[in-house]
Symmetry: none
């Protein structure tokens, strides 16, 4: 693994993917599918080429190495997995759209579940590589912490001041929210191919979290 750090730091050049030729997109799609199914290490570039219906040389014409293929898949995903509660978007919601903590919870739980479910394969690959690449997890956590400290803590304090949220450390609160969401997503994405009924799961999830986190 060369450097997944770069992957995380780059804002994904969204257009890049659409600029790819048909064959290159097939390569990317085949990689996505195989990496998710059997893992990065157990996928050979020969199998990728075969599934994509191209020659092995073609696999390397756009993405110079097998590792760049992984980056090309995980880069955009990582770039979008975190903004959960990011920047402008959140600030504006704060007082207007989400007056109560329950609204807030409903929003992010539903939003992140939807995102992951519509990127199941990327998520699975990400989870797999995470086990192998602590760096990946460490950086993600650091970013998450920054996010929480800079943005989220203000918001949480907003609800805490309103008496709707228990006055725990924002970090601790976030940990529980993330844990419970993942408790729904991980078994589903890793084990089955059935789509999740997001509305139902969100309701359950929020119900529990509201009990645990209300003031």
């Amino acid at each position: 693994m060369d450097n997944l750090e770069t992957t995380i730091n780059q804002i994904p050049p969204e257009k890049a993917i659409t600029q790819l030729s048909k064959k290159q997109q097939a390569v990317l799609k085949a990689s996505l599918s195989l990496f998710a199914k059997v893992g990065y290490d157990r996928t050979s570039t020969y199998e990728i080429a075969k599934l994509a219906g191209v020659s092995e040389g073609t696999v390397f014409s756009q993405f110079k190495t097998k590792n760049q293929l992984l980056h090309a898949i995980l880069g955009p995903f990582i770039g979008e997995i975190l903004p959960m509660a990011a920047s402008e978007f959140i600030n504006q919601l704060q007082t207007t759209s989400l007056p109560h903590f329950e609204d807030f919870l409903n929003y992010i739980v539903h939003d992140r579940m939807s995102f992951v479910m519509s990127h199941r394969s990327e998520f699975k690959i990400f989870v797999q590589e995470m086990g192998r690449n602590p760096q990946l997890l460490i950086m993600l956590t650091e970013r998450l912490n920054t996010l929480i400290n800079r943005r989220l803590s203000e918001m949480l304090r907003f609800y805490q001041d309103k008496g709707e949220l228990i006055t725990w450390d924002p970090m601790r609160i976030s940990r529980y929210i993330v844990s419970v969401i993942l408790g729904y997503l991980l078994p589903n994405t890793l084990m089955s191919d059935e789509p999740l009924v997001i509305e139902q799961q969100t309701r359950e999830c929020v119900e529990f979290l509201m009990r645990g986190l209300s003031a």
Copy 2:
């Protein structure tokens, strides 16, 4: 990956390990260390041999294949990870030692955290392989479900009847307990090498779960 199913179904031949010669134990230990650090696929048998201080041939004298090495490591671990709420042990606790749900929570949270922390490497390998081997996770879940339906549900009903536990589906309750525990264990085991202050974490964990799960 031949067949990890066998791994799970076998009651771990506990004695096997102690029967191993010094060299074979060194092999197992080296494998454990390397698999956890860089992953099964990225560990070569040559490196195992070097770290264990034996010849490459010796690596294969006891464990016929590299995969059997993985089994020899994960087998016992999986065999012990589940009994969490298993069989005799739980039944006897039920009414005597753990009269209140909080006692029960305290017990299993502390118990499982301790277990995982004292088998960090095995846990890490398990998590890594899980992403790659859905079979592993599916079987584990099925077993967990059986366990919950047969044993745990009785216990939970016991606390529910006492009015100490919310009357949700036992499966749902278990999901939250497991999720929150893992929310503490995963970042710690995957990211850092610092030991966890189990007592402190247990207290936090139980505090949150009690709020979320009390009747």
Copy 3:
């Protein structure tokens, strides 16, 4: 290597080069530079295209194969490296312009040194390929021998008859002349990029050869 024999046998199509388009000339120039710097085998057509500022396809539009590129470079060079004492030109010099052996030596030493120094890159490529392509050297030698036997021997006899040149076999005499000239050229072309002070070197060279070859 297809057939470098053809390269030697072809009278270099002098005009060919000037007939080439700007792009083709750029390709030839880039090849010359890269072949000389890192060698034919270690130069990829991609690098040639990049340096020439053309597409990879263009590299092959004029020269059908990479090998033809080598031929296009070495052909003219080989065609001109030998005429040292060739044909009409020499015959006419013989008695008129170069009455003494020292004049003769001065002439060819200076002439060949100048030629090589103004074709350093070609010379370097030629030397490199020679090691790999004995055919190249064999043919060159045969041609040299023919040249010597047919033309040069007459001339040398002229000076021998005048008592200015030792009465050794012309082949032997030629060997020493060539060796000593190469003794100056090789280190300079292979090792450094500094231009040779040809006048100075010629004087030294001739001084030594005169001592060794005078009657």
Copy 4:
């Protein structure tokens, strides 16, 4: 080419070669033969394996890379090519065994010709790589210069003082000696497989050099 510098600086671990297994020696021998015949770049490890009668894996079991194979061949050769006029050996010859410059010439011409002829393949590979690896030539020359300045110049001065050797710069004298020797060796080693009649060539060589270099 990683680092041929190391090759030159290491005194060749002579024993290493004899310690090699039969198969490894076959690999070395096959490499020597193929590198000399078609060049390093145009020899594939598959061909080496085939010629050596071993599997391709075996080629890499002792020599980790193809390049190390080249080093293993050139290292010892380079280590011995220079001592021509080296250290103790020369000093002791100086006044005792070689009273006259002609004796001295006879000695080194014969000695170096014998050495190269008994290492034809290595010499050929060396010449080929030299064209591609200026570093190789530069270092060799620097060493040669050091050798000449430190040791040889004393010796030459000894003969100059005796009035047997022209009072030119030692560097210049060396250049001619080397050039003329190579003038015999290069065509023979590069072009043919016929053994050289060393005695005859040495006599010719010395005869010419004596004429050119006598005071």
